[in-house]
């Protein structure tokens, strides 16, 4: 024990083993995830969307807000009257739809990331406190969550936006509040099933405090269902934000947000199909891809379903 070299070797071996273990966990995860072809396709589409969102200012052929006064409602390139200048056509004030869609990807992914981050952190905090302390704290918190869940989520989001005022940021806050109880419930259930396990008791006996027990001992073992729920909430957030935008309560024109684009296109529904079709298709493809990834994650992370 006093020999310094022996101590060094020991530590290296430990580190090496830990690295190997982490790799094997990742390998196993990828093995199960990649067995689901839909999930891999979904992951590719999501990757493509992220790339498009990041590169939008570079690859978009036009300025998304530039109104071309000589090209109102130009059809897409493959239709009579279309041209390669505006590949997916233009809207009622002559803006290039493809460029607007590319910039719209930034908004949708940004909305998803922000909403999931807020509701995930909030939900984990609330769920941890409820599940760890139990008793009246738990009862109070879960009753409040029940009340939030008693309202249809879109209606509650609309009412919250009515209080906060229309706009993208307020819409994101409203959606995060509406989605948050799902994370709280999930965390609470996971914490309650974990907190009676032996490793938690042993950590307690070793003298770990409340915070350490909550965040370092219990929480990492509850992450699997939370990751799956976070993925599914990501798609819900994009859908709800688009719905709010469509109803005029989310991002405001001329923001190239997909739902807002649809709201502006509504009156041309019977005259110019492309103005309506492409923004919605972008929403559908993105949400579908994220849900595919979510299904794949659930299959790969849920040990109950894993080998069935």
């Amino acid at each position: 024990m006093t020999d310094p070299t022996l101590k060094n070797i020991d530590q290296d071996v430990v580190k090496e083993e830990a690295r190997k273990a982490r790799w094997s966990v990742l390998n196993e995860f990828w093995h199960y995830f990649s067995a689901n072809k839909g999930a891999v396709i979904g992951l590719c589409i999501v990757g493509f969307m992220i790339l498009m969102a990041v590169l939008a200012p570079v690859i978009a052929p036009h300025d998304p807000n530039l109104q071309n006064r000589d090209a109102f409602l130009t059809p897409p390139v493959w239709q009579d009257g279309g041209s390669w200048t505006f590949i997916l056509g233009t809207d009622a004030v002559g803006r290039d739809i493809l460029s607007r869609l590319m910039h719209g990807a930034r908004f949708s992914l940004f909305i998803g990331v922000v909403v999931v981050t807020i509701s995930l952190i909030g939900g984990i905090m609330i769920g941890l406190i409820a599940g760890y302390f139990r008793g009246w704290v738990d009862t109070l918190i879960m009753r409040v969550m029940d009340i939030i869940l008693a309202f249809p989520s879109l209606l509650l989001a609309l009412v919250l936006v009515a209080i906060l005022g229309p706009g993208l940021v307020n819409a994101m806050i409203a959606i995060a509040i509406v989605l948050q109880p799902h994370f709280a419930r999930l965390t609470r259930a996971a914490v309650m099933s974990e907190s009676n396990r032996e490793y938690v008791t042993s950590a307690k006996v070793a003298g770990a405090g409340h915070l350490r027990l909550m965040f370092k001992t219990i929480l990492p073992n509850c992450l699997a269902p939370l990751i799956v729920q976070a993925t599914l909430s990501f798609s819900t957030a994009i859908l709800d934000a688009a719905a709010l935008g469509f109803l005029g309560m989310g991002a405001q024109p001329p923001t190239p947000e997909w739902g807002t684009m649809l709201a502006e296109a509504r009156e041309f529904v019977l005259r110019a199909w492309w103005v309506v079709t492409f923004p919605g298709l972008a929403i559908l493809v993105t949400v579908l891809a994220i849900n595919l990834v979510g299904d794949g994650l659930r299959d790969a992370l849920d040990p109950k379903l894993k080998r069935s």
């Binding site: 609309l158 009412v159 209080i163 849900n291």
Partner: protein
Amino acid sequence: MIAGAPLWRLLSFYTNMLKFLLNKLVLIVPTFIGITIVAFGFVRVLPGDPILSLAGERGVDPERYQQLLVQFGFDRPIWEQYFTYVVGLFQGDFGTSIATKRPVLNEFMALFPATVELATCAIIFATLIGIPAGIISAVKRGSWFDQLTMGTALAGYSMPIFWWGLLLIILFSGTLGWTPVSGRISLLYFFPQVTGFMLIDSLLSGQAGAFRSAVLHLILPTIVLGTIPLAVIARQTRSAMLEVLGEDYVRTARAKGLEQVQVVGVHALRNALIPVITTIGLQVGVLLGGAILTETIFSWPGIGKWMLDSISRRDYPSVQGGLVLIALIVMMVNLTVDVLYGLINPRIRHQ
């Protein structure tokens, strides 16, 4: 004793059921209080003066303001205001709409049948297609039918329904000209509203073509509103069915030499349907949320469109009243589903 035993059993069944019901009822009390607190607080956290929001007036002189202050009870302590509000709710006082100056409850009740009609058609549509699709997918697991159905279901689940509605309008109303674009019935027909349900009223009116017109107006909104529930029900039926098909009693039924139809239709389906019924019940909240979008797209005069219109024209008493009524409906439906679940599944009741 021989005659007494079943009677005793029956009594114990009823007391058990009663206990179960009471437990459920006690649980909804805090939710009800919470809902009323949310609605009560809603007008008080709005930007601007709550008194002016409730009255729908602006720039009033101090005298009128004092009058309104007393009228809405803002001169009394907050707990008394809340208490008065809840007592009012129990007496059917849900506020007065600014837009129409009529009681919110009357407004709501006048529009509610339209939403119920649409939501009922949507859930019937979703169930009639979703359950058989889910069963066949489970029985033929891994087949092309299963993969196609589950792919479609996931797409339906990911569908922005407001866009889906616009697409259907482009195809069926624009290109094909089969269905009307908006409303509940053609303006050519005029008859008294007896039940508020257009399908029934148009039949009662006896006017030729009225019923056909009502049906045509219903088709697209039904499909749009039913899409997400359909996807959820199909997925849920499939997974419930898969679980049940692996159970011992299904294997026993197979071992007895029963036909596939009998095994699936009788032994498996009955048990698989229990979680599916819960899922259908839980879709009611989803339907009422989806009704906001669907009714807006098709100009369907129901409570979803009314809520959105009320929010946009700052008719806050209507929003407040509608919020409570919708939450109460969702709560009651969930309670009914819970009780039904207990009735058909004794294992839950005895817990």
